[in-house]
């Protein structure tokens, strides 16, 4: 790996020199109400992200989450529950050159696309996690160790992106992680707005199993349509999800409201594996969901969805309603003098 990347280490600096970045506190917050089989659950959550740039090449970034799942105990009219706190990532990034960034610390496992890129409450189109989300990454979704990653133009029509990583075993809460190593490689075709990638991970403890997966994003240039999909397989199960989302901006009526409205659907299926896990369903499960998002203001939206789950344990309905918000607070002067 070192031999491969050393020739690039003498490349030029990467950012426009005239703009000095400032520390920023950003993140997402939400209040989601979930009705599963008629039982209501309130989920208030906030995930602040702290970004501290240092010089031209360094960045410290951290995301913590505070999330409560408030339910009504039997015979009680009040909602009760505990707030779960988690350090989702706390990492130091060194942008070595245009091709390579070195990351150390606790990082989100770059397996597939959902965990790293689509997980935040203000980004996800549907509030429920995909059934396969934790097939390979486990409950915490993070590793503790080091990672090499980057994206570069390899051809006039293609960009490549990659990540290779190693995580050590850590049993210290809330920084627990398994011992594993893996990698992800993606190709992005900007003109077609198509990204396709594959992931591989090897668990270096317990059953020492392999996991692999594929992901894709496609945004046709002629339509306000996003299509995302993932497939994953591990000893704990396998499955897929496909999620098209359409912005109604092309409809010729109520344009002010329509351009703020997005409708979304998701089809997904999970198949149990050789090993059981608390992080995934215990039986083969299918789910079909429909939802809508209405962008009230920049970063502030109302969201709602209906889903039907089919499994041998019984079919059921899942409704979600809520509000999500993305915030951004500069921790310094934002303007260039």
């Amino acid at each position: 790996m070192t031999i491969v990347f050393v020739p690039f280490l003498h490349a030029q600096s990467q950012e426009p020199e005239e703009i000095k970045p400032v520390p920023v506190l950003t993140g997402g917050a939400g209040f989601i109400t979930v009705f599963e089989d008629g039982n209501p659950e309130l989920v208030p959550l906030i995930s602040p992200v702290l970004l501290v740039p240092i010089g031209k090449r360094w960045l410290i970034e951290s995301r913590t989450s505070f999330e409560a799942e408030l339910a009504q105990p039997a015979g009680s009219g009040t909602f009760r529950g505990k707030v779960a706190k988690e350090v989702e990532y706390l990492q130091l990034d060194f942008i070595a050159n245009p091709y390579l960034t070195v990351t150390v610390g606790r990082y989100l496992t770059p397996f597939g696309s959902y965990n790293e890129r689509l997980y935040p409450v203000w980004i996800r189109n549907l509030q429920a996690d995909p059934l396969i989300q934790k097939i390979a990454i486990g409950e915490g979704g993070a590793g503790t160790g080091a990672m090499l990653r980057g994206g570069f133009k390899a051809h006039p029509q293609f960009n490549f992106n990659y990540a290779v990583y190693f995580s050590a075993l850590s049993t210290r809460e809330p920084l627990n992680s398994d011992r594993f190593a893996g990698g992800r490689l993606g190709i992005f075709i900007p003109k077609a707005r198509l990204e396709i990638g594959g992931s591989f991970q090897h668990l270096l403890q317990d059953e020492r199993s392999n996991s692999f997966g594929f992901h894709s994003f496609w945004q046709p240039t002629s339509l306000p349509l996003d299509i995302r999909a993932e497939y994953a397989r591990s000893s704990r199960g396998s499955g897929y999800w496909i999620e098209p989302a359409y912005r109604l901006s092309q409809l010729p009526f109520w344009q002010n409201a329509m351009r703020r409205t997005q409708i979304v659907a998701r089809v997904q299926q999970f198949f149990v594996g050789k090993l059981s896990s608390d992080a995934v369903p215990s039986v083969n499960t299918k789910q079909l969901e429909f939802g809508a998002n209405y962008y009230i203001l920049d970063g502030f939206r109302a969201t709602g969805s209906y889903g039907r789950e089919f499994s041998p344990e019984g079919d059921g309905n899942i409704w979600t309603f809520g509000l999500t918000y993305r915030f951004l607070i500069p921790l310094g002067h934002g303007d260039v003098k």
Partner: protein
């Protein structure tokens, strides 16, 4: 057809379609060898007009890269002050593995 095969078939189609499309685009963008050189060369203009055209082209390209990269995962955010956006773009460069060139064009677009 099982769901697994369906997914593999769907992904394979997307890969093949994307490669064919990109190859076609590259051929379409290649200048025809028989075309006169002056046909593809820009007309001579005063220096300030050329600079304006360059800035406009960079802005247009920046907007394209912004939509292609940032819009893949989330809705376009409103603009924030330049030094704030410099931090956010550095964060997204790492998170979303945006290329160096894309990062420069996006930063220029969103801070102008």
């Amino acid at each position: 057809m099982t769901p697994k095969r369906l997914i593999f078939a769907w992904l394979s189609l997307m890969v093949i379609g994307g490669v064919l499309w990109a190859t076609g685009q590259e051929q379409a963008n290649t200048p025809h060898p028989a075309a006169p050189a002056s046909a593809s060369a820009p007309a001579a203009t005063p220096s300030h007009t050329a600079a304006f055209q360059d800035a406009a082209a960079a802005r247009l390209e920046g907007e394209k890269r912004f939509r292609a990269n940032c819009g893949r995962c989330h809705m376009a955010p409103r603009k924030f002050p330049p030094r704030v956006m410099a931090t956010v773009v550095r964060h997204m460069r790492v998170r979303a593995t945006i290329t160096d060139e894309d990062m420069r064009l996006i930063l220029r677009y969103i801070t102008e």
